[in-house]
């Protein structure tokens, strides 16, 4: 593993006091060498982060994920006045649950050809009367309507269903509108179509019964909610279920932990 260090003091690095230890391994070599290199805690080093990210394999990511404990409550409910993104099979449920927890009206913007969400299916998560369905002709209209709704601040949550990729400009505009109107935005995006301006991005997948941690889960289904982008913190993933009685999301376990 290469860590770019802009400091003359390499000697100390090799000899000195190690505190933060990073494992080095490649995904092919499963036998990890325990200690490779460490950074002294009391010295500030400028680390070439991009180099690090490029070399990190999925195994490293899972290691990092495991090593950091990100509490679910710090990222969900979604941070207000920001635009978030969600993708995956369970994105609709994620949006429905978020809509149920939002205060005030929920504006749901989508293109007119897309079938609307079924209010009967929505009612366990969210009161369908709260929803204002806005049907636009094109993605441009969808984004413009979403921006208007976010900026006005009249709604508690603005859910936007987009069908194509979102550029940085559009994402940033939505972000600014959300900040101006102090409204939360949630974009349901196709896989990989998000913009870099999003505050967080989630991937939601259903878990089949055999994969669910609880076997007697006849009453509720489980989802894996992975935080795959977070502007202000680390990433993590959780297995959650919906508790209809208390009307909230319950974390069953940390995925993979």
């Amino acid at each position: 593993m290469q860590v770019g260090i802009e400091n003359e003091d390499k000697a100390q690095l090799l000899s000195g006091t190690f505190r933060n230890v990073i494992f080095e391994s490649s995904s092919r070599e499963t036998s990890a060498k325990p200690v490779f290199r460490a950074l002294p805690a009391d010295r500030k080093y400028k680390v070439g982060f991009s180099v690090v990210m490029l070399r990190l394999s999925s195994f490293h990511l899972s290691l990092i994920r495991r090593s950091m404990s990100l509490p679910f409550s710090s990222v969900y409910p979604l941070k207000r006045s920001r635009a978030h993104e969600v993708c995956g099979e369970g994105g609709l449920v994620f949006a429905a649950i978020s809509a149920g927890q939002a205060k005030g009206a929920v504006v749901w913007v989508s293109e007119h050809w897309r079938p609307t969400v079924n209010p009967e299916g929505l009612s366990p998560y969210c009161d369908p009367g709260k929803l204002l369905i806005t049907r636009a002709v094109s993605q441009l209209d969808v984004l413009a309507s979403a921006e208007t709704a976010l900026r006005s601040g009249a709604a508690g949550l603005v859910v936007v269903e987009v069908s194509g990729a979102i550029g940085l400009t559009e994402g940033r505009r939505l972000q600014l509108a959300a900040e101006a109107g102090r409204t939360t935005g949630l974009l349901i995006i196709p896989e990989g179509a998000g913009s870099n301006a999003a505050e967080t991005r989630w991937r939601c997948d259903g878990l089949s019964a055999s994969h669910s941690p609880c076997q007697n889960s006849h009453d509720s289904t489980h989802w894996r909610w992975s935080l795959i982008k977070n502007k202000i913190g680390t990433l993590s993933e959780w297995v959650v279920r919906w508790d209809a009685a208390s009307h909230r999301v319950i974390v069953v376990s940390k995925a993979g932990g």
Binding site: V107, E120, G121, G129, A155, G206
Partner: protein, 488 residues
């Protein structure tokens, strides 16, 4: 005070209205399709000179006068024109009523002196109408009946004490009697009003119905007759003309603000709210640009409406400048006084404003709300209603678990009443991990629904090993498997 009524008759209203817009220098007539042929509806004096009459078929008329020019008539536009004339006539008196399709009654009681007396008043009316290209016949008497008789048969003024003397020699038709009654009386040798008046009343009443006596009494003033003035239609439009053209957005918005303040004050007194506003800008090159604003709720709050106008106004091309702004409330609705409450009211207002803003971009009919429908058919159990014309539903009926997304049924391969263990759906092969069901739903036989042609449906909730949770159904009467929804 002695009542004084002017009857104003326009004998050629339709033809003259048409000629005012588009003069012709030839025998001219208007036609109307009636009783299976084109007939003459109205005509000019030159055409009358050829012996043409109203009601004649056009073919017949052309044989008399081959050079006849015709246009189709528009009786509704004539009626509108008559209403305009009625509005114009309020310059003489405040009380003007319509008289059939081609006349007006003016109640000039107490207002004749403003123009120097009755004679000068009639002269003034006649002069102005002639200048406008209209032929008018005028009669002035103490009752509408007598005034009508004079205007139609002997133009002039009847002093209060000489009504009978003036209308006595006129034919019976002057009493507004029906053609049939007139003919009937004429057969008995009664041709004029005075002859009718001299008959014993009891015999007339016995022989004819009361209408003959009533018309006679109305003309002579023994029975009163009402003139119904036109309803004062409230017109919620204001305009501002500018000495110099303007073009900057701020200036235009300032002008709009002034208009809105006026309009809202007027709406406030009438207890109304605007639903559709139209703002028209006239440019110096006579081009008109207009901005429409559809509101989600009736309102009369100038500041809020101004903010909503901003987007539309900024798209207006001012060209060389704007010298007139006109604001009209095209659709208005009742809007009573409202109790002000601090938090909730503001929230509602801001949501209504949002609906308006979104509606101006995607159309107000595209902002929808869910409303429950009493039906057990899953796809018919709700409807979408425009949010601007409905209130949110507070309590939603809870039924069995339903998928979050419903789509038209998509067939999959599978047989037997049990859900297939593996199937392909949307290009993916899926393996059933768990299945819950069946829930049988029968079609609504009283409704004609083509998508239920397969008959009964047994619904299953199927969880797949790949993570999807789908809503499948089996049609036992017509074996087949379909996917209709996704639980997400």
């Amino acid at each position: 005070m002695q009542r004084r009524i002017v009857s104003l008759w326009f004998p050629r209203l339709a033809a003259e209205r048409s000629q005012r817009a588009n003069p012709v220098d030839a025998p001219f007539a208007l036609t109307l399709f009636d009783r299976n042929s084109e007939r003459i509806y109205d005509l000019c004096p030159r055409a009358e000179g050829f012996g043409l009459q109203r009601g004649m078929t056009l073919v017949h008329a052309r044989s008399f006068c081959p050079s006849l020019l015709t246009r189709p008539s528009d009786p509704e536009a004539d009626q509108r024109f008559l209403k305009l004339l009625a509005r114009w006539a309020t310059r003489y008196c405040p009380w003007v009523g319509l008289d059939g399709r081609d006349g007006l009654f003016l109640d000039i009681t107490g207002s004749a002196h403003l123009l120097g007396g009755e004679e000068p008043l009639l002269d003034d009316v006649r002069a102005r109408l002639t200048r406008a290209g209209l032929t008018a016949r005028l009669g002035l008497a103490g009752t509408p009946g007598a005034a009508w008789a004079l205007s139609h048969f002997a133009e002039g003024i009847a002093k209060p004490d000489e009504v009978l003397a003036r209308i006595g020699p006129l034919p019976l038709a002057a009493l507004r009697l029906s053609q049939e009654t007139c003919t009937n009386l004429e057969r008995l040798g009664i041709a004029t009003v005075s002859e009718l008046y001299n008959l014993p009343r009891a015999t007339i009443a016995r022989r004819y119905d009361q209408s003959v006596l009533r018309h006679l009494d109305q003309a002579l003033g023994a029975i009163g007759e009402q003139i119904s003035p036109l309803k004062d239609e409230q017109n919620f439009a204001v305009r501002i003309t500018l000495p110099d053209p303007i073009g900057l957005l701020d200036d235009v918005m300032a002008g709009t603000r002034r208009l809105l303040n006026h309009l809202c004050a007027r709406l406030d007194t009438a207890q109304r709210g605007a639903r559709l506003l139209k703002l028209t800008f006239r440019r110096v090159d006579q081009e008109n640009q207009s901005v429409e604003l559809r509101l989600a709720r009736p309102m009369r709050d100038a500041e809020r409406m101004l903010a909503l106008f901003e987007r539309g106004v900024s798209a207006v091309d001012a060209g060389y400048g704007i010298d007139m702004i006109r604001l009209e409330a095209v659709q208005i609705e009742e809007l009573g006084m409202r109790q002000l409450d601090r938090a909730q009211g503001r929230e509602k207002d801001s949501l209504a404003d949002l609906i308006t803003q979104l509606g101006n971009r995607v159309g107000l009919e595209n902002i929808l709300r869910f409303a429950p429908v009493d039906s057990h058919i899953p796809e018919c159990s709700f409807k979408l209603v425009p949010a601007a014309y409905s209130n949110p539903v507070r309590s939603w009926p809870s039924r069995r678990p339903r998928p979050l997304r419903l789509f038209p049924p998509e067939p999959i391969l599978g047989d037997g009443p049990q859900p297939p263990a593996r199937f392909r759906w949307r290009g993916r092969s899926l393996t059933t991990a768990e299945a819950e069901g069946p829930e049988r739903i029968t079609p609504a036989w009283w409704e004609d629904n083509d998508s239920w042609a397969h008959g009964l449906r047994d619904y299953w909730r199927v969880g797949t090993r790949q993570g999807q949770r789908l809503w499948l159904f089996h049609t036992p009467q017509n074996p087949g498997w379909f996917v209709q929804g996704e639980f997400g």
